[in-house]
């Protein structure tokens, strides 16, 4: 019998702890596959952040470092400066990247650090049980915005990709989604491209990935996917915000 689908070598044979219908697992797989396809798994160093994916250093087969909440881009900077010929990526949630780590992500991009950032935007704090995130939509109910996010009192969502695209050091910025297979294929291309931009030494790359959190959204997995497709995308339009125009070699 011929295997048509198998575990990628980029992920170790360890069951993840993510909830059913959570897209963190899909994004892990895309990153792992991209490292294998580009043949950089053996010389990639990843940085886990603080959020539901705090321990994904156990899952990825490459060398991994766990960073304090929000500090992954600074930690990645330290690693990359020591190993400029290796690939370095961070995996961060929206609380990690767009709240407590806002300074670190902006300045890593401003310096044009040659790292790749995979930013899972699920519009909520997953790990700590569903508080409002900087990316929470207006009107969205969370445990700390129980009557829906009120822009008057709680401000407006941050569109990270649009903001990062204003920085010349951020040479590649794209927003993708994981809500259906067509979009997953597009997301995979973006993940690969982020690594390739880094490998080519062009600068900082960030892929914002619209993700689900069925558990804290209070939705079942299919409904969560629909909510991304119908509601979240309105606030966070998919697309390419900065494009370094790589030659299509690989």
């Amino acid at each position: 019998m011929q295997a048509v689908f198998k575990r990628t070598a980029g992920l170790l044979n360890i069951p993840t702890h993510y909830c059913p219908g959570c897209t963190h697992g899909i994004l892990h797989r895309l990153i792992a596959e991209a490292m294998c396809e580009l043949d950089i798994l053996h010389r990639t160093i990843g940085v886990s952040s603080v959020g539901c994916t705090y321990n994904n250093y156990e899952y990825f087969a490459c060398d991994m470092v766990q960073a304090a909440h929000g500090r992954a881009p600074a930690v990645a900077t330290g690693i990359k400066r020591v190993h400029p010929s290796k690939s370095v990526f961070t995996y961060q949630g929206d609380g990690d990247l767009a709240a407590i780590g806002t300074a670190e992500i902006i300045h890593a991009a401003a310096r044009g650090e040659k790292i790749s950032v995979f930013f899972a935007n699920n519009a909520i704090y997953g790990m700590t049980s569903g508080q409002m995130a900087p990316t929470t939509l207006i009107g969205q109910v969370t445990t700390t915005s129980p009557f829906g996010r009120d822009p008057d009192a709680q401000g407006h969502p941050i569109n990270v990709s649009e903001m990062m695209a204003t920085l010349p050091g951020a040479v590649y910025v794209e927003r993708v989604s994981l809500h259906d297979y067509r979009h997953i294929i597009q997301a995979k291309k973006a993940v690969r491209k982020a690594f390739r931009v880094q490998e080519a030494g062009l600068g900082f790359s960030l892929v914002e990935v619209l993700s689900t959190c069925p558990t804290n959204w209070g939705m079942d997995p299919p409904k969560s996917m629909d909510w991304v497709a119908e509601v979240m995308i309105q606030q966070y339009p998919l697309g390419l915000f900065r494009d370094p125009k790589l030659e299509e070699s690989k």
Binding site: H42, D63, A68
Partner: protein, 354 residues
């Protein structure tokens, strides 16, 4: 004759770091230590190293965390308010068992305080500062030559024990100029770091650097391991200097800048018929409790005087060391002021009933 170079204390730290094989410096400007970064910015270019002016002290210490995880000798430096921001990183460096070197050229606090010298960060340096059960090695130099030598020593200790070594100076030491001899005691032999993240190279399982242990038993076992390491450091690395302590009437305990003032008291007091000894802790953690206890136990010793540029911090450790054997007196100045020889002498004379 050995070549002597006149330099600022801050510059001596930077030169020493480079000679110790440090090629990564991450900092954020703050008086009175910014000359470290100025010097690094020029000198690192000559040796092919990296200097990043980070967006904050938080970012700088986390860059050190990353560079140390990647296997390099890396450092940052700051002064008190900046060191407060770095405490998060200190705790993570301890939890991930990474070697790192930090210099704190202390200024007067609390708050923004002032830019003049102080030793008011003693508690923060020696008792944690960040969260959790951890220790840092704390070295207290008292001259520009010692800033140089102890910076090199800090890198060696950090690597040997996989922990953070802190150089606790103050604004006076950082800014003063003194001749330095670049005496490299031993050829710098960078240790192998098989645990570092370098990429697996496809030849070994992945390395992971982390400080999180969700299961109580696993974390407790890790804490026990850390404590065993700290106990070993306490056994092997205590450093102190004793001057004139034998048969002293009064024992002074002072570190860094204060020890320089204390040193000057010894002959003046002797001329007035009082034998004064000085114990200078060189490692503030591990603290030389036994050295102090032994000296204080001598029958000649009437009392112990702790002198600090603070409102009384190290004096608590001195009190614990002496453990009620002898009375403890304290003389402290703060806000950037230094105690004068006159006021120390007056205090000593009062202590001996004169």
């Amino acid at each position: 004759m050995e070549k002597r170079v006149l330099m600022k204390g801050n510059e001596a730290i930077a030169e020493a770091a480079i000679r110790a094989g440090c090629r990564y410096y991450f900092g954020y400007p703050i008086t009175p230590q910014t000359e470290i970064m100025h010097y690094m910015a020029k000198r690192m270019v000559e040796v092919g190293g990296t200097v990043i002016q980070a967006e904050s002290e938080l970012a700088a210490i986390n860059m050190v965390y990353g560079a140390a995880a990647a296997g390099a000798r890396a450092m940052t430096s700051s002064s008190s308010p900046g060191i407060s921001l770095k405490q998060e990183g200190f705790s993570y460096i301890a939890g991930a068992e990474l070697p790192a070197v930090v210099a704190n050229i202390v200024r007067a606090g609390p708050g923004l305080g002032g830019i003049l010298p102080s030793q008011g960060d003693y508690f923060q340096a020696t008792k944690g500062g960040g969260h959790g059960d951890y220790r840092n090695i704390v070295l207290a130099p008292a001259s520009v030559q010692e800033l140089y030598e102890m910076t090199i020593e800090a890198f060696n200790l950090a690597d040997r024990y996989r922990m953070l070594a802190l150089i606790l100076g103050d604004g006076a030491l950082g800014q003063m100029m003194e001749p330095v001899v670049f005496r490299d005691k031993e050829p710098i032999d960078l240790p192998k770091k098989p645990w570092a993240v370098t990429g697996t190279g496809g030849v070994r399982p992945h390395n992971t650097i982390t400080s999180i242990y969700i299961k109580a038993d696993v974390l407790e076992a890790f804490n026990r391991k850390l404590q065993a390491k700290y106990a070993e450091v306490s056994r092997r690395e205590v450093r102190a200097e004793c001057l004139n302590c034998e048969d002293a009437d009064i024992l002074m305990v002072a570190f860094g800048t204060c020890s320089r003032i204390g040193r000057g008291i010894i002959p003046i007091a002797a001329a007035q018929g009082v034998r004064v000894g000085l114990i200078r802790p060189i490692t503030l953690w591990p603290f030389p409790s036994d050295v102090i206890a032994r000296a204080a136990a001598q029958p000649s010793v009437k009392a112990v005087l702790t002198i600090e540029l603070s409102c009384g911090q190290m004096v608590e450790d001195v009190r614990l060391a002496v453990d009620g054997m002898k009375p403890i007196a304290f003389l402290g100045r703060s806000g950037g002021n230094l105690p004068t020889q006159k006021e120390i002498l007056q205090k000593i004379m009062k202590m001996v009933g004169r």
